[in-house]
C-alpha cells in the first residue's frame, strides 16, 4: 500500500514538474563563480525573471574544471544555452567548430564599452559579449603602513625598484607573489609577463605576440620574462622562488596585512578584493588596503607615452544547442541582452564592488573607492589590452604558458623555457 502511495506521489511530482516546465521557456546558464559572485549573479537572474515571468533561467555552477565539463557536454550535444567565461582563445576554437552562435545583429551592443566589445569578436562575428571586466594592472598595498614608514607610490619602474630596495634595506620583504592555483597553477605569472610586455614592447607588439606573429624566442619576450625574474634574483620576494611557487594566488596579498607586515606589495587583478575582505573582514577599502597602477616601464612603448592597462573579465557566449534555431531562441538572446544592460551592471557593481562593461554605468553605483578608481582607470586608459594568455589557443594560454612560468621561476634557463614554448606554439597556432 505504501509503495502504491509513493508511486502515485512520484507520478504526481513528475507530471506536476513537467506541467510547470511546460509553462515557462527555459534558459540554462553555466557559470563558475565561487563564493559571493554566485548570489550576485542570482540577483541579476531574479531581476530578469521578474520582468519576464514566462522565462525560467536555470543556473548551474561548475566551480572546477569547467572547460572539461563543457568539452564533454559539447561532445555529447547538450551544452548549456550560454556561459560567461574569460577564455577568448577557447571561444575561437568553439567558433571554428561551429559550436557557438554569432551574435551579430541578434544582440544590441550599443551599451557595451566600445573598447571592450572587440575582444569578443572573431572572424567577422561576435561570439563573446563582454559583461564584467577586471583591471589587472594593480599593485596592492597597505596605505597605513606606507604612510607610517614614509613609502611613496612609485610612478615608474625605477621608482618601484628603488622603493623595493628601500623596503629591503629597512629589513622588510617588498613583494608577495602567489603562483599556485591548483590545476591552473602558473596563471598569475602570465599577468606579470603581459603587463611587462605592454609596458616595454608596447600594445602593437603585444598584439603580435598574442597572435604569434613574433616568436616566443623574440628578445622582447625574453626581456619581459627577465624583468619578472629579476624580482627573484634581487631577493625581493617573500619565501623566494619556492615561496612564490607554493603560495596560492588568493593568499598572496595576506602578508601585507599581518602586523608587522611580512611583505609590502602584491600584484593582482581587482577581484583580489574579494579574498582580502574574506580573510580580513575588518579592513576598510581605500583606508586599510588600496592599489596603485602597475607603473610605466618604457614610456616610449606607447605612442602618447601613457601607461597602458591590462584587463580581463567575462564574456557571454551562446552555444549552438541545435534545434531549428541553433541556439538563437528568443529567450536565450533576451537574457544575453539583459546581461549587458545597465540594470545588470548596477546589480553586479553594487553587490560586489566590481566593474561592468556597460558604458552608461552610473558612477554613483561605485560606493567602494577602489572600484571607482578602477572604473576610471578602465574608462580613461588610452591603451588597454585583454589578458593575452586567455586569448591564445588553450594549449598555450592555459597550458604551455602556465608551465613556462613555473619552470622559469623554479630555475629552468630562460632559453630552454622559451624554445619549448615556441615549439608548442608553432603546433598550436597551425590551423
Amino acid at each position: 500500500m505504501r509503495k502504491i502511495v509513493m508511486l502515485l506521489l512520484v507520478g504526481l511530482l513528475v507530471v506536476g514538474g513537467a506541467a510547470f516546465a511546460a509553462d515557462k521557456k527555459v534558459v540554462t546558464v553555466m557559470h563558475g563563480w565561487p563564493g559571493e559572485q554566485a548570489p550576485a549573479f542570482q540577483k541579476i537572474v531574479d531581476a530578469f525573471e521578474a520582468q519576464n515571468p514566462d522565462i525560467d533561467v536555470q543556473v548551474e555552477i561548475v566551480g572546477r574544471d569547467r572547460p572539461a565539463v563543457l568539452a564533454t557536454r559539447l561532445a555529447a550535444g547538450n551544452p548549456p544555452d550560454m556561459t560567461p567565461h574569460p577564455w577568448i582563445g577557447t571561444m575561437k576554437q568553439w567558433a571554428d567548430a561551429g559550436q557557438i552562435v554569432d551574435l551579430t545583429g541578434l544582440v544590441d551592443t550599443s551599451e557595451v564599452n566600445p573598447a571592450l566589445l572587440p575582444i569578443g569578436e572573431y572572424d567577422n562575428g561576435l561570439y563573446g559579449l563582454f559583461i564584467f571586466p577586471n583591471v589587472k594592472s594593480c599593485v596592492w598595498y597597505n596605505p597605513k603602513v606606507f604612510a607610517a614608514r614614509g613609502y611613496k607610490i612609485p610612478n615608474t619602474w625605477y621608482e618601484l625598484l628603488a622603493l623595493s630596495d628601500k623596503i629591503k634595506a629597512d629589513g622588510g620583504v617588498p613583494w608577495s607573489i602567489g603562483l599556485e592555483s591548483g590545476a591552473a597553477s602558473g596563471w598569475p605569472g602570465t599577468d606579470w609577463i603581459e603587463d611587462i610586455m605592454l609596458r616595454t614592447a608596447g600594445p602593437a607588439v603585444y598584439d603580435k605576440w598574442v597572435a604569434h606573429e613574433i616568436p616566443w624566442t623574440d628578445p622582447r619576450v625574453k626581456k619581459a620574462f627577465e624583468i619578472f625574474g629579476s624580482l627573484f634574483d634581487r631577493g625581493y620576494v617573500f619565501g623566494g622562488r619556492t615561496g612564490a611557487l607554493t603560495t596560492n594566488f588568493g593568499n598572496a596579498a595576506d602578508p601585507l596585512f599581518n602586523t608587522p607586515p611580512t611583505a609590502y606589495m602584491s600584484k593582482q587583478a581587482t577581484f583580489i578584493q574579494g579574498f582580502i575582505k574574506d580573510h580580513f573582514p575588518n579592513l576598510v577599502a581605500g583606508e586599510d588596503y588600496d592599489f596603485f597602477t602597475f607603473p610605466t616601464i618604457t614610456p616610449q612603448a606607447t605612442p602618447d607615452g601613457s601607461n597602458p592597462i591590462l584587463v580581463s573579465g567575462d564574456v557571454v557566449t551562446v552555444f549552438n544547442t541545435g534545434g531549428p534555431l541553433n541556439g538563437t531562441r528568443p529567450e536565450v538572446i533576451k537574457f544575453a541582452q539583459f546581461l549587458t544592460s545597465q540594470e545588470a551592471a548596477t546589480i553586479w557593481s553594487t553587490e560586489l564592488g566590481e566593474l561592468s562593461a556597460n558604458k552608461n554605468a552610473d558612477p554613483s553605483i561605485f560606493t567602494n573607492p577602489i572600484t571607482k578608481k578602477a572604473q576610471e582607470m578602465l574608462m580613461g586608459a588610452s591603451y588597454s589590452r585583454y589578458d593575452g594568455s586567455d586569448m591564445m589557443p588553450a594549449s598555450i594560454g592555459t597550458g604551455a604558458f602556465w608551465s613556462a612560468i613555473l619552470d622559469y621561476v623554479s630555475g629552468v634557463p630562460i632559453n630552454t623555457v622559451l624554445e619549448s614554448l615556441e615549439q608548442s606554439a608553432v603546433e598550436a597556432y597551425a590551423k
Binding site: 574544471d65 615561496g243 607554493t246
Partner: protein, 296 residues
C-alpha cells in the same frame, strides 16, 4: 538437440559480448582511428583532418611526453617494488603480533580513502611556508625544528618531488597488498613451517626457502595488479602538482590534451600508448589466474 547445443553457448555469451563490444571494443577502435586525426570533437567533423603519424611523433619525441614516459617508468619500478615488498614484510611480521587485526586495519585504512582525498592530505604534509613563518606541513615542521630550512617538497625536481608523489601512492596501496599477501600466507599449512623448524631451519631460511616459494604466485598477481594500477596513475599527480615541475605522467597528459586543449587526436594517441603498455601485464595476470584456477 544438436542445433540447440550449437546456439546455446551464444545465448549465454552473447549479452556479454554485445556489452563488451559496445563499451570496450568499439571505443578502443575509434580511439585508435582518432590517433591519426587532428584536433576536434567529431571524427568526421569540420576541423578534423588526417595527420598521419604526427600525433605519434609527438608522443615519442616531445620533451613533455618524454618526461611523462620517464616518470611512468619511475612510478612502475619504485611503486611496485615498495608496495609489494613492504606489503609482504608486513603480512609476515604482523602474523606474529597479538594485535594483528587492529594493526592490519590501521594499515589498510588509506586504501579506503579516495585518491583525491589522500592527495589533499599529503599536500598538507608537504606544505611549504617561507622561512620564519609557522610551518603548517608536518614534514617541514620537523625539518625546521631540527634546525633546517623548509624544503619545497613538491617543487624540487627531478627526484624529490617525484618520489614524494610516489610515496603517496605507496601509502595508499601497501595495505591492499598486505591484505592479499597475508591471506595467502595464512593459507600455507603451518605443519610445513614447523617441520622446517624442527629440521633446524632458522627463521630467515623458513621465510626464504618455504614461505616465499609458496607465495610466488600471489606475489606475481599482486605485482602485476600494482603495475597495471600505477601505469594509469592520474589522481595523485593531477591534484598535487598537475604535472608541473617535471612530474608529468602519461594519464595526466592525456587528460590535459583532451579536456583542456581539446586535442582529441593527441589524447587518443596517448591513450593507445597507455593501452599497449598495459595489455602485456593484463595477459600475464589472466594467464596466471587461469593456471591457478585450473590447478584447483
Amino acid at each position: 538437440m544438436i542445433r540447440a547445443g550449437r546456439w546455446r553457448p551464444w545465448l549465454f555469451v552473447g549479452p556479454a559480448l554485445l556489452l563488451i563490444g559496445f563499451f570496450l571494443v568499439y571505443p578502443a577502435l575509434v580511439t585508435i582511428a582518432r590517433s591519426f586525426f587532428g584536433r576536434g570533437a567529431q571524427l568526421f567533423g569540420p576541423m578534423v583532418h588526417y595527420v598521419g603519424f604526427a600525433n605519434w611523433k609527438y608522443v615519442f619525441t616531445s620533451p613533455v611526453m618524454l618526461t611523462a614516459l620517464r616518470n611512468n617508468v619511475l612510478w612502475v619500478v619504485l611503486f611496485t617494488l615498495c608496495t609489494v615488498s613492504i606489503g609482504l614484510v608486513l603480512a609476515v611480521m604482523l602474523d606474529r603480533v597479538r594485535y594483528e587485526k587492529i594493526l592490519k586495519s590501521v594499515i589498510f585504512v588509506p586504501a579506503a580513502i579516495s585518491m583525491v582525498g589522500a592527495s589533499i592530505i599529503w599536500k598538507f604534509v608537504y606544505a611549504f611556508r617561507p622561512e620564519g613563518m609557522p610551518q603548517i606541513g608536518i614534514l617541514n615542521a620537523i625539518v625546521v625544528s631540527l634546525g633546517g630550512k623548509p624544503i619545497g617538497w613538491l617543487i624540487q625536481r627531478p627526484w624529490i618531488n617525484n618520489i614524494c608523489l610516489i610515496i603517496v601512492g605507496i601509502w595508499i596501496w601497501t595495505g591492499f597488498c598486505m591484505i592479499i599477501l597475508s591471506a595467502a600466507y595464512k593459507n600455507i599449512p603451518k605443519a610445513l613451517l614447523e617441520a622446517a623448524r624442527i629440521d633446524g631451519a632458522n627463521e630467515w631460511q623458513v621465510f626464504h626457502r618455504i614461505v616465499l616459494p609458496l607465495l610466488v604466485p600471489t606475489v606475481a598477481v599482486v605485482g602485476t595488479t600494482m603495475v597495471v594500477t600505477v601505469l594509469k596513475i592520474f589522481d595523485i599527480v593531477y591534484v598535487m602538482t598537475n604535472g608541473n615541475f617535471a612530474t608529468e605522467v602519461i594519464a595526466n597528459r592525456m587528460y590535459k590534451e583532451m579536456f583542456n586543449y581539446f586535442n582529441y587526436g593527441r589524447a587518443s594517441a596517448i591513450a593507445v600508448v597507455l593501452l599497449i603498455l598495459i595489455v602485456p601485464f593484463m595477459i600475464l595476470n589472466i594467464r596466471r589466474f587461469t593456471r591457478q584456477e585450473g590447478g584447483r
